[in-house]
């Protein structure tokens, strides 16, 4: 960055040099001198010491100084007159030099500071803008990634909507499932089968379809079809019925005879009787 205060270093150097020269010029004695101490007595007869500093510049001895009684306490015979004066002169010249370029340099430096402060503010704003932009970009890209993933997912599963549609269609066309729905809604098995397949109850076709349907529903579903005979044979009857059936079996009766004679199911109800017989046979025969 181009700075206006070009003489800044020179100015600082000159100022510091002038200060150092001035402080340096204070050091070391300026002139040769001697310090004398003279014992004196005041009007009351009390003793005290009187000190005299006699320098080389003194044109006369101080009043009361007695060279015979005065004792030399200290003397300085090495002075630094020239060095001190030179340093003082250097300090003055350097200070004048510093002041000559001072005004301009100080003004330029203040402008530089102002400019750099403004630049710093600008840079800060730029950084903030950049961060905001990057955040926006990140958010956008995340959204895009999400959309891409969704797309891939949909392609992988052959689009969920289509799948759902297919399932619905299948369900709609699958008579077994529809019959299952009807059963779940509480419609009796025979009525459901008759409604879905369009065959009246009691016919051979009805019976075959029902068997298929029960096989399709599996063991659990078959059990669920219990209400069919439960209307006629409640659970409390199971044990006594089975005892009667097992007795009849022991006597050598066939299944059809048992259904008609023991369970008392004839004609249309023979099927109910058979189902009940099967149910009891399945549940109790294994326990014998």
């Amino acid at each position: 960055m181009e700075k206006l205060a070009k003489n800044k270093r020179l100015f600082v150097a000159l100022s510091c040099a002038s200060i150092a020269s001035l402080i340096g010029s204070f050091a070391y004695p300026l002139q040769k001198l001697e310090v004398y101490r003279q014992a004196e007595k005041n009007a009351l007869g009390q003793g005290y010491a009187r000190n005299f500093i006699i320098t080389e510049s003194d044109v006369s001895l101080p009043y009361g100084f007695d060279s015979r009684r005065a004792k030399l306490v200290a003397k300085i015979y090495q002075d630094a007159k020239q060095q001190k004066l030179l340093l003082l002169l250097a300090a003055a010249v350097l200070a004048i030099g510093a002041l000559t370029i001072g005004d301009e340099t100080v003004l330029a430096d203040e402008i530089d500071l102002e400019v750099s402060a403004i630049k710093a503010v600008g840079r800060k704003q730029l950084l903030l803008e950049g961060v905001r932009h990057r955040l926006a970009m990140a958010s956008k890209s995340q959204r895009l990634i999400f959309l891409d993933e969704m797309k891939a997912l949909m392609e992988e599963f052959n689009t969920p909507e289509a799948e759902i549609l297919e399932a619905d269609e299948l369900n709609a066309t699958d008579k077994f499932t529809n019959a299952g729905y009807l059963l779940a809604e509480g419609i009796p098995l025979d009525a459901a089968v008759a409604q879905i397949w369009g065959c009246p109850a009691g016919t051979e076709e009805h019976r075959a379809v029902k068997r298929k349907f029960l096989a399709w529903q599996g063991e659990e579903e078959v059990k669920d079809a219990g209400p069919d005979f439960r209307n006629q044979f409640p659970e409390t009857m199971d044990i006594s019925s089975w005892k009667a059936i097992s007795k009849a079996l022991a006597e050598g009766m066939t299944k059809a005879e048992i259904v008609t004679d023991v369970l008392g199911c004839k004609g249309v109800q023979a099927e109910v009787g058979e189902a009940y017989f099967d149910h009891l046979h399945n549940n109790y025969y294994s326990r014998l």
């Binding site: 002038s18 300026l30 001198l33 310090v35 000190n51 500093i53 100080v106």
Partner: protein
């Protein structure tokens, strides 16, 4: 920062002049009284400029300070001799007194400046 350095340079210039006057007074004792008079006059004027007159008070403060620095610096080796061989108590007393005067004067001037500011607002 540079502005303070510039003020310091100014102070050094005036202090070097004051110190030079002190050296002159010591090397040529006949000059000591006129220089003392001059010094007192300038110091009095500085006091007047700082305390009463409107105008460049910074310059007055700088000149007053430089007078003090030049006086102390110009007599420093002699002060050392006094402190070592003649009367350390005197040097200590004078130093403490001078510092007390400086502190009090600064405080008074500061308060005055503050009150002036308040008065001018009214």
């Amino acid at each position: 920062m540079l502005r303070h350095l510039k003020n310091a340079s100014e102070l050094v210039l005036y202090a070097s002049i004051s110190c030079g006057a002190a050296y002159l007074a010591r090397l040529n004792p006949p000059f000591s009284f006129p220089i003392l008079l001059l010094r007192l006059g300038v110091l009095g004027y500085c006091g007047y400029a700082i305390a009463i007159a409107e105008g460049n008070k910074e310059l007055a403060i700088i000149i007053g300070g430089s007078l003090l620095i030049g006086m102390i610096g110009g007599y420093w080796d002699l002060i050392e001799v006094h402190q070592k061989y003649v009367s350390p108590e005197m040097v200590v007393t004078l130093t403490v007194t001078a510092l007390a005067v400086l502190g009090t004067g600064s405080y008074v001037l500061y308060q005055r400046e503050k009150n002036d500011g308040k008065a001018s607002k009214k």
